[in-house]
Amino acid sequence: MKQNIYLFFSIVLLVLLAMFVITNFNFTGRAVSYVNITIVSMASLNFTVNSINFGAGSVDFGKSNATIDTLGNVINGNWTPISTKFIIENMGNTNLSIFLSSGETAQTLLGGTNPGYYYQVRNYESNSCLNQKIPFNSWRPVNNTDSGDNLCSLMSFSDDNDSLSIDLMLVIPSDSLIGERTDVFTAVGIARE
């Protein structure tokens, strides 16, 4: 009885092992790889204006608006001056094209009469952008469209020349929305072959 059971298990085991070998060791002429996986040469970073925190403040009495920016300027308001900016670095080994979009507009972020919401791009390290698509070192309104603004179509990856800075400026009307206001920026990098 026991011998029969051993024999039965041995046969089953041999059959199963044969199946395993046949299906796994490619004796059937089956090609090894049929599914292609490509890593898309694009990345998207989302970051909040919270990273740049202007803190609490108000427009000076009798003034129609206040202007604050990340270059340390505060005009007609009592905010604490800040100089924190966004730094975008190309850490990889390929040149990039960089796009930037905001989540809000001046009106949706600040509200009130004639609000302003601007950004300014600079080469944080010299010659980081080899082909500027917008004027650098000057304020321009944020762009909240899906594609945003193309800042630079050729951002270098050279270690000493691979970073841009983005400063922000807000023109806050005296009748603006009150409370904590936040926004999310999206930077998209596309590899340039």
Partner: protein, 151 residues
């Protein structure tokens, strides 16, 4: 009396042997089914850095999410094309070291022959995330069908 005991003992041993054998076969069948069911396994290295700046790293052989400050997110995508002449089932896993930061746009789906699907990976960091480099991998399993699978 002694002979009866011996018979009982022998019957018990036979039953035990049969039971063990059945368990053994079930286990073997399970392992073989799983290995038979898998057509391909691919592992892609993945990493990101939580730091003060924003950084892009568009490596084409790895899912490098670059550098992101606490509270920020970074996304990259892969395209999967089925060149088999049959439908396949795709499952995607991320390693433990990065799983809590990673979201996958879609998972566990069928791909028709010739079909290409784009899958996005998004790394989210918390506002109190610890600075440092996080390394892991994304594993893509191509199966004949959606059956049970041992990772």
């Amino acid at each position: 009396m002694g002979e009866t005991n011996n018979m009982k003992k022998s019957k018990f041993e036979n039953n035990l042997l049969a039971f063990s054998g059945i368990l053994f076969i079930i286990l073997l069948l399970f392992i073989i089914f799983n290995s038979w069911n898998i057509l391909e396994k691919k592992e892609i290295p993945a990493n990101f850095i939580i730091g003060e700046r924003l950084g892009f790293d568009l490596n084409s052989s790895a899912l490098t999410f670059g550098m992101l400050p606490p509270g920020a997110s970074s996304s990259r995508a892969i395209e999967i094309t089925n060149d088999f002449n049959r439908e396949v089932f795709v499952s995607i896993y991320s390693s433990r070291s990065i799983i809590k930061f990673t979201r996958i746009s879609e998972n566990d789906f069928y791909l028709a022959p010739g079909e290409t699907r784009s899958v996005s990976f998004i790394v989210y960091t918390e506002k109190n995330s610890t600075f440092g480099q996080y390394n892991g991998f994304i594993k893509i399993i191509i199966k004949k069908n959606s059956g049970v699978f041992l990772k």
